[in-house]
Symmetry: C2
Subunit: 224 residues, 2 copies
DNA sequence: TTAGTCCTGTCAAAGACCTAACATGATCGG
DNA sequence: CCGATCATGTTAGGTCTTTGACAGGACTAA
């Protein structure tokens, strides 16, 4: 991933940095809501459990957001990061699969705040079709393709059963979606220009498992 | 993180490897269910979009799971990884916060399969208390501490509102929980021996945002 | 038996990433 | 005005991670 920073220089931004930008923004929004005006790299880094030099290094790829001697101003940093991450331009989104997880996500209020207004929910189950979640009606899956085209939907959230995941994803892509947020426990194949983000709940659980099971062994295995 | 491999040697296992183990297991279980008996490092790696040498290198930390010339046997590899990850020993779990996300997670059937049987659900809302999800009743939050102690609960899933997250986490830890699966959009502080896994949905969304917004710019910024 | 093919375990080199250190600039109090 | 303090931007060096290459075992077919 490459960007041109504020000083006209081209940088290759490491993936690791990109993955941290949302963490910075997340924390900064909390600070902003708490009325904090200024924050130093040390304060911000400490609260995220990383090194201050790493944070400054990350910001450096974008030309820096302050000048030597002055801490970062929260009210300037937030919109700057929002623009870099792309949160400032709305990306209309749909949820496909109105099961428990799909409905839970549909109730998540932060989507709008993060630039992803929810425009539609789709499911095959006739018992679900017609219900409304936060004002958004559940529509039959058969209408999805036309809806995506008509409303210029860019991102689809995939919360369908595993066995139809690839099929539904294919329909989304054919209809014009450029990003898929995949909550199903399987890999889906897409053309290279379509971005897939896998949200593998099982993986999170297993990581937790690996670590908790090793509590109590740590005395004999120093230095993890 | 350190382990002793099958040849008695001590290795420090990199974090990057640990994060991949669940992906391997996840895929292998799918293969096993499909009746596949043997799989080579190339096949497995290709399906996960990584290099075969990396997969073999990862397995090498644990002494390897086959011998030169023979592909991996799915039925041997699955239990071996399950043991390493810790999925083979059940870890009783509770969900605290029976809102939409909490209920969605409570309906997730894979928890048992992954070694995390759901033993209880807790909430402060009297309208929710008494409801059952997949046979597990929702109990008042005030009973949580006693329940954790009595049933030897090891892991708590945190799906409460942000403003009470730290407070509820403190109660969990005081009651004896050793792992917290945090779905709230905030950091929580715990003693060092308690493992916290943050499942930050907003971060996943923002990563997707960063990438999808840059589609169309890729022609002028070659080589991402 | 033997050549050919497929495969893993192993290691060293290359690459990506993180961190400490420092030059420099801003601010404050006296 | 000046020193002390705090802060960022920047870079070089160290550390962690990935990759390619290869030795050697196992199987197959002729």
């Amino acid at each position: 991933m490459r960007v041109v920073n504020t000083k006209g220089k081209k940088f290759r931004v490491p993936d690791a940095t990109i993955l941290r930008l949302p963490l910075y923004l997340d924390k900064l929004i909390l600070l902003q809501q708490a009325g904090v005006k200024e924050v130093s790299s040390r304060q911000l880094a400490t609260s995220l459990d990383i090194k201050a030099s790493q944070l400054r290094h990350d910001f450096h790829y974008f030309g820096g957001f302050s000048k030597p001697g002055r801490p970062y101003q929260v009210d300037k940093l937030v919109p700057a990061l929002e623009e870099i991450i792309g949160v400032d331009v709305p990306v209309p989104m749909i949820i496909v699969g109105a099961g428990h997880l799909g409905q839970g996500l549909a109730n998540y209020r932060n989507f709008e705040r993060l630039g992803f207004p929810l425009r539609g929910i789709f499911d095959v189950d006739p018992k679900l079709v017609g219900l409304e979640i936060r004002g958004v009606p559940i529509r039959p899956l058969s209408e999805m393709t036309a809806f995506v085209k008509e409303h210029g939907i860019k991102v689809g959230v995939l919360t369908v059963p595993v066995n139809v995941a690839q099929d539904v994803a294919n329909q989304m892509v054919a209809a014009g979606v450029v990003g898929v947020w995949n909550f199903t426990p399987t890999d889906i194949r897409t053309p290279p220009q379509v971005i897939v983000r896998n949200e593998r709940l099982a993986v999170g659980l297993m990581c937790l498992s690996f670590k908790t099971k090793r509590i109590g062994q740590t005395e004999e295995l120093k230095g993890d």
